[in-house]
């Protein structure tokens, strides 16, 4: 009985070892590096077509499909420009930027662009005296030194919002030889119906086009400085210089929210009846409406939705996505 079992085990081992040899029909037995001595299937690839050296092998039909002449998967050594500066595993945030390869690093331009945290893109503009402004955006990741323009931001600030983004892109466009920043600025201006701004940014994509921006840059710096003033007033959280702040009456009181992750705006004559609260959102929240920046508005003591209709403060409708918020007076 023991002998029978031994024979069966030997036969089984022979079958398994052969099953992992794709070259049997060619009468060749290569030396196969194995950790389990043939005990387990060691094809760690679920693809039907796998590349083994220069051989392209079909794991279903157990047939050699083709012989690959060059191994393009590992061509970093050749320093081909379209392959260098790429990751070997996909970016976990690749779905946020479907137009880019999931393996790209710094949009394939590591000379001018940076990615210090691996998150979505930022614009960093440095000025005189080590001052800087970081603009939160998912459109472009770039760092430029604008101190030659005589810009001093008076500190280091992180800002967000379309106005400051457009202004920042204009400044970046002066220093960005690729024209990408100007292209993005042109698109934003066009989408907002600012066709003249779009034309200026569009022409600036050309090497000599920045000459048209001369008058605009001063305005852009002012826009950023205004956003910094708002930032100083309401702290690092919330809505500095962005969509909600500019819609509300200037007389309203601005304060950082209780959780320090947002800003509240209060009507001084009716603070509990008329107020707006902007929250940054919590990416770990199981409620999608609370994961991204949202706004809660109380009007005449009632919580209202995006259309100004009264809703329960606990409903999804009461959590207005920040970009959709439109301030409605009584």
């Amino acid at each position: 009985m023991r002998k029978l079992l031994l024979i069966l085990v030997i036969l089984l081992s022979f079958v398994i070892v052969n099953a992992q040899n794709p070259f049997v029909e060619y009468g060749y037995t290569p030396k196969i590096a194995t950790l389990s001595q043939g005990q387990y299937n060691e094809f760690f690839d679920n693809d039907t077509l796998v590349q083994i050296g220069s051989v392209l092998f079909n794991t279903n039909s157990k047939q050699i499909v083709a012989f690959v002449e060059t191994d393009t998967l590992y061509s970093e050594a050749t320093l081909e420009p379209d392959i260098v500066s790429r990751w070997i595993s996909p970016d976990p945030l690749a779905s946020e930027r479907p137009s880019w390869s999931p393996y790209n690093f710094c949009s394939n331009n590591p000379i001018i662009r940076i990615d210090p945290d691996g998150m979505l893109d930022d614009i960093v503009i440095t000025g005189e005296n080590n001052s800087s402004v970081t603009l939160k955006t998912d459109m472009i990741d770039v760092k430029v030194n604008a101190s030659s323009l005589g810009v001093n931001f008076g500190g280091n600030y992180t800002l967000q919002g379309e106005d400051v983004l457009s202004a920042g892109l204009d400044i970046v466009g002066v220093f960005d030889p690729t024209g990408i920043a100007d292209g993005v600025a042109a698109k934003i201006a066009w989408d907002n119906g600012d066709y003249w701004g779009a034309t200026i940014s569009g022409v600036s994509v050309l090497p000599a086009g920045d000459i048209l921006k001369v008058g605009k840059i001063g305005k852009d710096v002012k826009t950023i400085n205004n956003a910094i003033d708002a930032f100083k007033q309401i702290g690092p959280a919330g809505d500095a210089g962005a969509t909600v702040t500019k819609q509300l009456p200037n007389s309203w009181i601005k304060k950082t929210s209780d959780n320090k992750q947002g800003t509240k705006f209060l009507d001084p004559q009716n603070p509990s009846g008329n107020n707006v609260r902007v929250q940054n959102g919590n990416p770990n929240s199981p409620n999608p409406a609370q994961q991204k920046p949202y706004v809660k508005q109380t009007q005449n003591g009632k919580t209202v939705d995006v259309n100004g209709k009264q809703v329960d403060p606990k409903t999804k409708e009461a959590h207005i996505p920040k970009q959709d918020f439109k301030y409605k007076k009584d």
């Binding site: 929210s257 209780d258 959780n259 320090k260 992750q261 947002g262 509240k264 009507d267 001084p268 004559q269 009716n270 603070p271 509990s272 009846g273 008329n274 107020n275 609260r277 929250q279 919590n282 770990n284 929240s285 199981p286 409620n287 999608p288 409406a289 609370q290 809660k296 109380t298 005449n300 003591g301 919580t303 329960d312 403060p313 606990k314 409903t315 999804k316 959590h319």
Partner: protein, 126 residues
């Protein structure tokens, strides 16, 4: 002047009452904070945001005392405010972590806060 020139004290009182009622309802919190409630969504930050940012319970406590003097309800409101103030910084920190809201809901200190809120609601209804 504690009350704003256009502020309606009755509406304010009702909003504070409803915010404390939500604070007292831990069963709804378990569903709404975890995204499992069919209608409501909420969170630790949001429940305190309504209470402190939107309707400013601290100013309401001062207003309440100026009208009704110090009574049992005023004492309970002060106690609730102190308990939340003692806990909220910890809570805001925990909330940012994965499953943070679930951790808070099991925290004995948060459960004590919700019990105090229940006490206020029953006192308010008398």
């Amino acid at each position: 002047m504690i009350l704003g020139s256009n502020e309606d004290a009755l509406i304010w009182k009702n909003n504070i009452f409803n915010a404390i009622k939500d604070l007292a309802d831990i069963e709804t919190q378990k569903l709404a904070w975890s995204g499992k409630h069919s209608i409501y969504i909420s969170s630790f930050s949001e429940i305190l945001g309504v209470l402190y940012d939107d309707f400013d319970i601290e100013r309401y406590i001062v207003y309440y005392k100026s009208i009704f003097q110090s009574n049992n309800l005023h004492t309970l409101l002060c106690q609730l405010n102190e308990m939340i103030k003692e806990y909220k910084e910890t809570g805001y920190g925990i909330e940012q972590k994965a499953q943070g809201n679930e951790i808070i809901l099991k925290d004995p200190k948060w459960i004590e806060i919700t019990e105090k809120a229940k006490e206020i609601i029953s006192q308010w209804n008398k």
